[in-house]
Amino acid sequence: MMEDRLSELRELAKAVERAAEAIAVMRKRAKRHHVKGDVPKRQRPIMRVDVGSAQLEITDKQAAALLVVKGGGGVEALNSIARVTGLNSKLALGLASQLAEMGLVELIAAPQRKILVLTPLGWKVAEAVEQELEKKA
């Protein structure tokens, strides 16, 4: 019993030591990839979507980003959003953060790579955007 506890403690000590070493290296590496997002200023509202009792105003860039993520099956890389919307990585990250604050996507982020995942609300809004744009076409 005592031996089991000691062995478990040794395993825990090894795990904590290795995790601490890895965290230190990961955080040093991350400094090379650090980008702070800025919400793009030039966004044009194109539609309103009913969400329960409220309405969400969707801009041209938000709509484009949602459609790209939907087209990727609900998961897409941030650099695809940047490519489609014509934004640089700083503004694309700002746009993604804005969509995350609206509850439309989850931003899954490692310093080297960021992806967007549509939330259930995001799916609903992306489908509404798609239908609206099809009507206009």
């Binding site: 904590v16 995790a19 040093k28 490692a110």
Partner: protein
């Protein structure tokens, strides 16, 4: 080691425990395979560690354009918190705090 989380007993090796701690406390919500190599020591170790963590429902994998990101599930986050609690009570947590302070 055996962790009890939400009434579930999880049997973890030290590499799996280290991966959970690193993923939870590094300061962002996803890691790459190359990050996990730092924990496991090499590529094969990282693949095996993440496979085991996924089997236990502790980590989710996102594969976009051939690039994989890994994130803790809610159960994984709770398991990492339990590891922290154990490490704190054994006086081991200082190492992680120092790593967070250094960078």
């Amino acid at each position: 080691m055996i962790l009890e989380v939400d009434g579930r007993k999880l049997e973890l090796g030290w590499k799996e425990a280290a991966a959970l701690i690193a993923m939870r406390f590094v300061g962002w919500n996803a890691v790459t395979l190359s990050d996990l190599e730092l924990v496991a020591g090499n590529y094969v170790g990282a693949i095996n560690t993440v496979a085991r963590l996924r089997t236990l429902g502790l980590v989710s994998e996102y594969n976009v354009q051939g690039f994989k990101l890994y994130r803790l599930t809610e159960l994984g986050a709770r398991a990492a918190e339990e590891l922290r609690r154990k490490a704190e009570s054994a006086g081991l947590w200082r190492l992680v705090e120092e790593a967070l302070g250094e960078a």
